[in-house]
Symmetry: C2
Subunit: 343 residues, 2 copies
């Protein structure tokens, strides 16, 4: 039998788990919010499932649970710089966001760099936090070397997510957030556990040959989405959100961690743009014009991205979040044992 | 028998064609340079082949050949705004570029908006012009509604090119530039002329059903690359480089022109980022670190984008550009007849 928790109850429970594991409130709060948001939106892969990975990374000493993020270079033009101090990205993002929003409104566009952070979350919570300020957002970060560049044979690029958001008045924003690999690594793992073959085009084996065997794929490399085009975007993300911001690229992250079972440690790039500033002096309200585009997309039966997630959110907000007894027992165990819950 | 022209001879000949057709020097010069650069790089689809389309658009009155681009909003934070005055984008881009470069170096990143322009060129010449200033660049623009959004049935998005560049010391930059449709419209046209079937996944017919018949595809819609992911990027480009900058979206362009045989009229967005500013205070030289990434890509047998183009450029610069007698005769005809060469 399932139990239903309100969002407040869920956030509180997750936060207590992180505090019990020795994290400070500055880290635990934002982490609890982003994990609860995943669960709320029906993204099980970014919900409470992630708690174990957070604790594992903490126990392995590959992230600081007591870090205090800090701003760097107070007046740095259109660049807002936040250092996570070796902690998770989430607290650093929350610290920098108001400054980013001010700067983007002031200059028309601005970028936030988060350095020295562990990063395990989806990018859509950050995209939505920027759109809530009436700004458009592009967000990207590397991960660890698990994807072969198009035409290549070995893992080099990360699954490097790319996310974008556009604010909409009186409703949820237009948001997409996807891996630049064909599939997420977790999907290959799920196929392996279920004993199922992979679709063609997802992966290559250790010899660089196409494979549909999940085991061979995990020992080989994933492929970028859209062939050489997706590969190029994945490379752009390594350059902009790794090299350019002076933080680790996906191969460097894998070297640093030595495994893909811990949260990757790197940086993140958030670009915020002000439609009001960009459209000033031109005909038409950009927000009203965007609605015409969305109507035309939906009018021909195509879907806007994130709609399933927003529907799940509406349900969760009305009815609470459903957890199974096994999930609740796991939360209780984490709360009772702290880091000792991790083998 | 072919003839070989130096780049100077080719540029001069193309420029004289545009002057003869009634364009001013401010429009004709940049157009001649970008078309000659296409020919030089072996991109026949963006070389002298484009002259006819330029003249056709001019004759149809859908672009001004005597426009003078002008800067707008002199001090506008990180936004550099150039109005093409109804002329081609190229002159406007050249006008705004030095300001964009200064602003990006000063603030860390900056955006150039080109408004009210006809646009027919590849984006890589602009990307390379930005990287020549030691800056990274993202460039995007809409085109006309010929691509169905993923899950849709009708043309709505454009082939919306997305391009990126990263400067490299002592060698050609890292550059990609691709349509966010699976294929360019011209490729479908080439299949039609050759009586060949299209590969699967390129297009749908007027009823929204998958088709490999080029005729049915031209009457239906092209598909975005990479399924819903490419569709999302194409939509982002409509929003940022159409709606946000107060210029036409792809469906609006098609309404305005009533045809896809003229150069589309819309705007363009160029974002320039300073790796030096972004990396300041962090470990490692971003340009040296990028080379490690490029070596790792090439070291496993994968190619960097644009390498074929750069090889053709090296040949053209050493040996000149080869044109067939038919191509030369066509240039002579344009020069003799001006706009009367267009039916």
């Amino acid at each position: 039998m399932n139990s239903t928790l309100s969002m407040t109850e869920l956030e509180d429970r997750v936060q207590r788990i992180f505090l019990r594991a020795g994290m400070n409130a500055m880290q635990a709060g934002p982490l609890a919010r982003v994990i609860s948001a995943g669960e709320r939106d029906g993204c099980k892969s970014h919900g409470i499932y992630r708690i174990e990975g957070v604790l594992r990374t903490l126990k392995a000493g590959k992230v600081s649970g007591t870090a205090k993020p800090f701003a760097e270079g107070a007046d740095n033009g259109a660049i807002v710089r936040v250092n996570a101090g070796g902690g998770f990205s989430n607290a650093a993002f929350e610290l920098g966001l108001p400054v980013l929003a001010d700067r983007a409104r002031d200059l028309g566009l601005a970028a936030m760099v988060v350095n020295d952070c562990a990063h395990f979350a989806a990018l859509w919570p950050e995209v939505e936090a920027v759109t809530a300020h009436g700004l458009a957002a592009m967000v990207m970060c590397p991960s660890y070397a698990t994807v072969a560049p198009a035409g290549g044979t070995k893992p080099l690029l990360g699954t490097n997510p790319f996310a974008f958001g556009w604010p909409r008045q009186g409703q949820q924003p237009y948001v997409f957030d996807f891996a630049t690999s064909v599939a997420a690594r977790g999907e290959i793992e799920l196929h392996r556990r279920a004993g199922k073959s992979l679709p063609e085009g997802w992966a290559i084996d250790a010899d660089g040959q196409p494979t549909t065997d999940p085991e061979a794929a995990l020992g080989g490399a994933m492929l970028p989405f859209g062939g050489h085009k997706g590969s190029a975007i994945g490379t752009m993300i390594e350059l902009l959100a790794g090299v350019m911001i002076g933080d680790l690229t996906s191969p460097e992250v894998l070297d640093f961690l030595g495994t893909t079972t811990l949260a990757p440690f790197h940086g993140e790039l958030v670009i915020a743009l002000s439609p009001e500033r960009f459209a000033a002096g031109r005909r038409g309200d950009p927000f009203a014009r965007a609605e015409l585009l969305f109507e035309a997309i939906q009018g021909q039966g195509a879907r806007l991205p994130s709609q399933r997630r927003f529907a799940a959110r509406a349900r969760s907000q009305a009815e609470g979040v459903d957890l199974t007894q096994a999930e609740l027992a796991q939360l209780d165990r984490f709360l009772a044992l702290g880091l000792d819950a991790i083998a």
